[in-house]
């Protein structure tokens, strides 16, 4: 009986640690996908002169994480008659909670929204370039953070479980 209780405590505590660790891995993946997405958007705008709704749809089908969701919500909003900025903001509001992204990542995305589609393609490229640059920095930080914290949280989860078991029994 005691053994079952002890292992339950350790398992659940360990699981919490794993879930938190997972967020760090996910954030790296999502930032990576965001970079790819903006790169694609830049190509669509500068080379294909594709209107935003079509460009968003294309990006959404090519990605997998919540980032795809972000673009597909923005596309639907655009098609229902919102301006690019409104659509983008709405997509962030709806989707952000499902992502592992942080506040700093959000800020970059929101700022990008103010300029989306509102100028000539050269200008658009500059805005997208700036956002990409910021995301690259954030990505590097996210990778470092992941290296440090994934193992830490996994161990911490299990160890806290063990600690509680020792305290109780």
């Amino acid at each position: 009986m005691r053994l079952i209780g002890a292992s339950l405590i350790i398992m659940s505590s360990g699981a919490i640690g794993f879930v938190i660790a997972k967020q760090f891995i996910l954030r790296v993946k999502e930032l990576q996908e965001l970079q790819t997405a903006l790169q694609m958007l830049e190509t669509e705008i500068s080379y294909g002169l594709t209107p935003l709704p079509q460009a968003f749809a294309k990006i959404a089908t090519n990605l997998s994480t919540s980032v795809a969701e972000l673009f597909s919500v923005a596309q639907k909003e655009l098609e229902s008659g919102s301006t690019a900025q409104q659509a983008w903001q709405e997509a962030i509001d709806q989707v952000f909670i499902e992502t592992a992204l942080g506040e700093r990542d959000k800020e970059v995305l929101i700022n990008l929204g103010y300029n989306l589609g509102q100028s000539a393609s050269q200008d658009q490229q500059k805005h997208l370039g700036l956002a990409q640059h910021k995301l690259t920095n954030l990505y590097q930080q996210a990778v470092e953070e992941k290296e440090q914290k994934v193992k830490l949280w996994r161990y911490l989860g299990v160890l806290v479980g063990l600690f509680v078991v020792i305290l109780i029994f």
Partner: protein, 318 residues
Amino acid sequence: MKNKVNKILKQNILPVLAPQLRRILTNLADNKLTDLVEIRLRANKPLVLELTQDELFIDQHGLIKEDIRQAYQVTPSDITDTLNLMTASSLYTVEEELKAGYLTLPGGHRVGLVGQVIRESNQIKRIKHISGLNIRLCQEIIGAADEVIRQIIAGNDDIYNTLIISPPRCGKTTLIRDLTRQISNGVSELNFKGLKVGVVDERSEIGGAYQGVAQNRLGMRTDLLDRAPKAEGMMLLIRSMSPDLIVTDEIGSKEDIKAVWEALNAGVRVITTIHGNNLADIRSRLNLKELLREDVFKRIIILSGRAGPGTIEKIIKR
């Protein structure tokens, strides 16, 4: 006719207007809009609807007012929102159009733009801070050329080179569009077989093309070259599409005239239009003199707006 304008409004125009303007125009009684020609939006100025003969002023509830001061004031954000809706928030896709000062909506409706011009070495590079829009409804009139076509066909598989002279807003584009359709499809009651028609549509007025596809009916044997400069476009068509006839709107520049000559020399028939009131008007223009001196245009059609747009003043046969 009445239903047609309302249908155009509902399908093509209202969805791209800023929400506030959309609401005002939706509230407006249908029967007032039967001869709507243009919707004028100017920042901080009253909303004006241009009819064929008259103007309409509308207040914020969609009621018609006598006094222009009671009309709804268009706000700058009405204009930005409208522009965003017209371009799916993708202004970069219409860079060339912004340079030329107009864009074309699905359905072939033309939107003229004014604002602050950005110059580059004495040429207009772009229009920025757009402050005024003129939405001009495009109405194709099937059968507008019924009378004219009888005069310009030569046998059952040829037509005469034709020049249409007309002041603005007298229906020359409507006429040329329907001519294109009839010549391309053929006219069975006149025993006229269809010809291959190449259309160079520099300002997207004939085909009203949206993303390259004509929105107006131009006939089964028509190849549309949308937004091409006239002179280059005509040469391209002759080289690659082997047309029997080339149709183009509003020639005038030296290059245009040269291209018309080239087309004629290549044995291609030409139908084109030109701004002017009468033949003497055209004769006085340097570039065009020669074209008229030699009898290359066997038919010259003069239009006016005397009895409404599309009134045929005279058909000169030579």
